[in-house]
């Protein structure tokens, strides 16, 4: 039996008058075109379903409110809504990017935990401890500048103000502190690695 195709405007009028089956016909008629359109842009089945659903929620609300006008055709109108929702989706994702791992791409190959493991942490603690002992060996004026610069994160300007010497003297003391540290390390065959 040949099925009679009812036009979109007729179905819309029926739906506005309360015939829910008309909406089912409209959705089923345009399902593939709208879903494929969304899928071609977002390339994800789940997101396609979400945007398809949101699109028709907007369609239903507009039709029920009676604010739909017949100026344009139904399908281009729905496509426009879907298009706007796709743009919204990408805007939202630009603010909060979400990375998914797949078969061909593992997120952990580009993203890592930069924390040290237990062994690395123990080695680091040991080095810090050794270095503190080495710094104690430095002359007082050099040690003072090095501690302020490295451990207290002060600028050379602040160091010069605090110690009452010029910036150049502070820079020179820092330089000699580092040279002397290297000398102590090499003379005593100390190995500091991480």
């Amino acid at each position: 039996m040949e099925q009679v195709q009812i036009d979109d405007p007729v179905l819309i009028q029926r739906y506005i008058k309360g015939d829910e089956r008309a909406l089912a016909s409209l959705i089923n008629r345009h399902n593939q075109r709208i879903s494929s359109f969304i899928y071609s842009k977002v390339n994800d089945r789940g997101i396609t379903e979400d945007i398809f659903q949101d699109t028709f929620i907007k369609v239903i609300r507009t039709l029920k409110k009676g604010t739909y006008n017949e100026e344009g055709k139904f399908l281009p109108w729905v496509m426009r809504i879907a298009h706007n929702l796709i743009i919204d989706h990408f805007r939202k994702n630009r603010r909060m990017p979400m990375y998914k791992g797949g078969d061909s791409f593992n997120i952990f190959s580009v993203m890592g935990d930069d924390k040290l493991n237990i062994e690395g942490q123990i080695i680091k603690d040991q080095i810090d401890c050794d270095l503190t002992a080495l710094i104690e060996e430095l002359p007082v004026d050099q040690r003072e500048v090095l501690v302020m610069r490295i451990y207290k994160d002060m600028s050379f300007k602040e160091i010069s103000e605090n110690t009452g010497v010029s910036i150049n003297t502070a820079l020179g003391r820092m330089r000699y502190a580092l040279i002397n540290l290297r000398k102590i390390i090499s003379e005593n065959n100390i190995v500091l690695t991480n």
Partner: protein, 47 residues
């Protein structure tokens, strides 16, 4: 064997929304009631 550097072309895939999605939309449509009074529009969802 020679290496192919050309990328596979993206095929246009036809997809359809799941029946569950359509069922949800139809149920949503049935439950949504829009009332207009004195130029104001109210939307109510009756489950």
């Amino acid at each position: 064997m020679e290496k192919l550097y050309s990328k596979k072309q993206k095929k246009c895939k036809l997809v359809q929304a799941k029946p569950e999605t359509i069922d949800f939309l139809l149920s949503y449509s049935k439950s949504l009631k829009v009332t207009k009074t004195n130029g104001m529009t109210f939307e109510s969802n009756l489950n």
